[in-house]
Symmetry: C2
Subunit: 338 residues, 2 copies
């Protein structure tokens, strides 16, 4: 039995009127509206979203495609997205995609596409032209976060620039033996984040007329930075005066390794990261701050715009979120300037 019909009967009005009273659209007298509301709440009525979606074509649900949940950046972004979406009256359906292409295809073909979402936010996922075509053919607005994607509105920091500024900071302090400890190029994330940050490092070094001797690839984590830094710092032949880490977690690993070896940060070793991870403060880490939760919220704003009025392909927004140099106490001039 149609629940709306029950409400209508109890309120003594038609289903049409009950619907208008409850869901807002159209004229209803204040009196009627109140009667209907009372009936609805006394019956514990809740609209069937399936029935409503079927006729309106809207689900009030947004799909989020994301490669990780329990990593700092992604978790923060997700919190930002979630709170904004809830505020806007939307649900969030989560689709985790791995780098297994088969699983990824299934998410797109099978899950995402069942007309269950009004729009999609892709976080840290480089959509292929084909995937974009698919989503577009379904009329779903898409917003990307974490890197540029051709043809859709997109939001990200400039990873090259972030690493360039980090490196320039150390150069400006007078460091010459600067090493880059970044993510492994073979365990690349989408958007080649590791490669971009490395490239920013290289650019800054070249701009300063320096060769790029010292580049190491490590797992993108605290233990990853720690293990490699231990080896590098212990060996006087490889030990630099400053390290640009590919992310704060690596940087924190470096600091822990330095402490272990009794190497003073920053007097004997300067360390800079990228992220402004929640542990950066505690380790007094100088870093470039990107606020992922705010990015998540901005992505929702972008998406709401798209939902209101899809942007034309030729004028798609690409927002570069500025990163801010946040100086704490892990960087200083080298002990013996050149």
């Amino acid at each position: 039995m149609s629940a709306l019909a029950d409400v209508a009967r109890l309120a003594g009005v038609s289903k049409s009127t009950a619907s208008r009273a409850l869901s807002g659209g159209g004229y209803v007298s204040e009196d009627t509206r109140e009667k209907v509301s009372a009936a609805a709440s006394s019956l514990g009525y809740v609209v069937s979203s399936a029935a409503a979606s079927l006729v309106t074509g809207r689900t009030l649900n947004v799909g989020v495609i994301i490669p990780f949940i329990n990593r700092w950046f992604f978790g923060e972004v997700l919190e930002g997205i979630e709170s904004s979406l809830t505020g806007a009256g939307y649900d969030l359906t989560l689709y985790r995609v791995s780098d297994d292409p088969e699983q990824r295809r299934r998410v797109f073909d099978y899950f995402l596409v069942r007309k269950r979402v009004d729009a999609v936010i892709a976080v840290g996922i480089e959509l292929t032209a084909q995937e974009i075509l698919l989503l577009r053919s379904l009329g779903k607005p898409i917003v990307g976060l974490g890197g540029r994607i051709e043809g859709i509105p997109t939001l990200s920091i400039d990873d090259v620039e972030a690493a360039r500024v980090a490196t320039a900071h150390l150069l400006s302090l007078g460091h010459t033996r600067i090493m880059h400890l970044g993510g492994d190029q073979h365990e690349q994330m989408d958007f080649r984040v590791h490669a971009q940050r490395l490239s920013g490092f290289e650019q800054a070094m070249q701009d300063a007329g320096r060769g790029i001797a010292d580049v190491r690839a490590v797992p993108f984590s605290i233990p990853g930075g720690y293990a490699t830094a231990l080896r590098i710092l212990a060996d006087p032949r490889t030990r630099p005066t400053a390290i640009v880490a590919g992310c704060d977690e690596i940087a924190i690993g470096v600091i822990l390794a330095a402490r272990q070896l009794g190497i003073q940060v920053p007097t004997q070793l300067s360390v800079i990261g990228i992220d402004d991870h929640y542990l950066a403060e505690m380790f007094a880490l100088t870093t470039l701050s990107q606020a992922p939760e705010a990015q998540g919220r901005m992505a929702v704003d972008l998406l709401m715009n798209e939902l209101r009025q899809p942007s034309r392909p030729e004028s798609v927004e690409r927002i570069t979120v500025p990163v801010r140099l946040r100086v704490r106490s892990s960087t200083t001039a080298p002990a013996r300037p050149v």
Copy 2:
């Protein structure tokens, strides 16, 4: 225009047959099935989940209620839930609830309830009797994770027991000056996790005939453990020989504080945590391991059982997930035994 109708027309069959061929139910000749499949994929057909749900009453979607996303335990659980749910052909819709009662009410009354989900998993959320009633009146199976909830199937570790074992471990090594550094009782999570772990500590101490002198409340995080441990360890009057931390993050904070002060772990200070956090290995932390990702997967299994056949209120499953003592190198006998 009904998309299914297009497929049916192209395949030269009726909508009924097309539906049966595509969604599995009922007899269809192999021949017909193939024709329909071909037509569907050539048209890029995808079923409308709204239409299907409206008639079947099933959404193939599960709601997950969770208080945090970007905290270790919750992120891990979420990954476990997500992967299991995807494997079972379900979508995951995420509802974050804060401790703002108004926001929480909205999630229940407004979001969760729009007949959008087939079932609900509550992670680290102590549902009220009223909330359970609401979900049950909608015929939605519910499973709880992280603590016991009256009347619904539930999955959790025994927090009292975990802290008891941690404390007993230190006692068995001969420690007498044992301190508990646990979560603040005023920033309690649901299920009173902080209080339970404290209580396990107290029980173990009492069982050993010890008084409970030393109990401190700190923020449930690495910086929280660090800041307080720094003060406690620096002062010879308060410095214990061993610390039971309320969680691994606090324990790691303690270890960092000890290092800072030049206090050797474990020879001068033993530290034990609870969780087996991903950083525990790197800090050689002895801890009680609870595998939250596996817990997430188990919760989905429980839920799938409920979906198949709801358990009767009088025989509801309450699974206690065993924790395992994982000895690394942060605990040893005290320097000068009593």
